[in-house]
């Protein structure tokens, strides 16, 4: 197995999925963002976005906090330190693989 193929096979599968990669990339550039912002930037529908966020939360990569802005419910998302570290590692491995 060449080092390139090994790097590809070692890529984090949770992050590697295109939808989740978009979400993690966006969240890594900010302190926090809400569900609506992610929906606007990724173009994913509510159901798909929720499903991706659940997987990222299960992996411990994303922290989800539900609150209210006035009377409007708001879901605020934040990349955890583990998520940030995993994303950095993912980028390094991807760069090495290409």
């Amino acid at each position: 197995m060449t080092p390139q193929i090994r790097n590809i096979s070692e890529l984090d599968r949770v992050i590697h999925e295109p939808g989740r990669l978009m979400i993690v990339s966006l969240l890594s550039a900010v302190e926090a963002a809400d569900f609506l912002y992610l929906q606007h930037e990724t173009g994913l529908n509510k159901g798909t976005l929720s499903s991706h966020l659940s997987k990222l939360e299960e992996a411990g990569y994303v922290e989800i906090a539900k609150s209210f802005r006035g009377k409007v419910p708001q879901t605020v998302l934040k990349l955890t330190p583990t998520g940030a570290q995993a994303f950095e590692q993912y980028r390094r491995k991807l760069k090495a693989a290409l």
Partner: protein, 222 residues
């Protein structure tokens, strides 16, 4: 894949001006300062417009508007339509930018004092610096804003080429002499007002376009 990741990493920064708020506050600040400078030199030296208290009151009002105005727009328009973003607090970068701006202002002022004959060249350089900053800060993300950057460049070149007696014509006679004569202050006031107005118009177009192209999401059925 990597260029796409980089694109997503840059999106939050671009999002800051999606509603034109960045330009509206920058434009208002520049327009306000240009207007104050115009009021100062079109009235006699020692008038109320030249007093330190007026300056601080003016700056206070401008700072309040440019601080609370964008917040209100974000809170009531942007967040309900396209979402909320909390940016990372990059304090060191902000301090470095402020220090650089102060240094540039001091270098410009020093150069102005030394080369009284080169005021128009200096004005053209200041204009180009503003146009480049605008292009870097705003135009990179949105293609049509390159026209604004070009307008800023051409406008500043035109203003710096105006004859000294034309730019001094609306100044009070008490401002005709001194280290910064009316011909110099008038040129900079005109340039600042021009920058402010152009950037304000660009911001207003962006906000109008944003309002027309976005809607708050429909409420969920009970």
């Amino acid at each position: 894949m990597s260029p796409q990741i980089n694109d997503y990493l840059k999106r939050p920064k671009r999002y800051f001006n999606i509603d034109g708020v960045g330009e509206l506050s920058t434009g208002l600040m520049a327009f306000g300062f240009g207007l104050l400078q115009y009021l100062q030199i079109s009235n006699p030296q020692g008038s109320i417009w030249s007093s330190t208290y007026t300056f601080f009151a003016f700056v206070g009002v401008l700072a309040a508007i440019t601080h609370y105005g964008p917040r209100a727009i974000k809170q009531h328009i942007t967040y309900p339509r396209t979402g909320y973003v909390q940016y990372k607090d990059d304090g060191k970068a902000r301090l470095a930018a402020i220090a650089l701006a102060i240094l540039l202002a001091m270098v410009t002022a020093g150069a102005l004092l030394r080369s009284r004959g080169g005021f128009s060249t200096m004005a053209a350089l200041v204009g180009l610096a503003v146009a480049v900053s605008y292009a870097y800060g705003f135009a990179r993300a949105v293609r049509w804003k390159w026209f604004v950057a070009i307008a800023l460049t051409l406008g500043s070149l035109a203003i710096s080429a105006l004859p000294a007696d034309v730019v001094a014509s609306w100044a009070d006679p008490t401002w005709l002499n001194g280290p910064f004569p009316a011909s110099v202050l008038g040129r900079y006031a005109l340039m600042t007002v021009f920058f402010g107005f152009t950037i304000l118009v660009s911001g207003a177009i962006t906000l109008t376009h944003y309002l027309n192209s976005t809607q708050p999401p429909a409420p969920e059925p009970e």
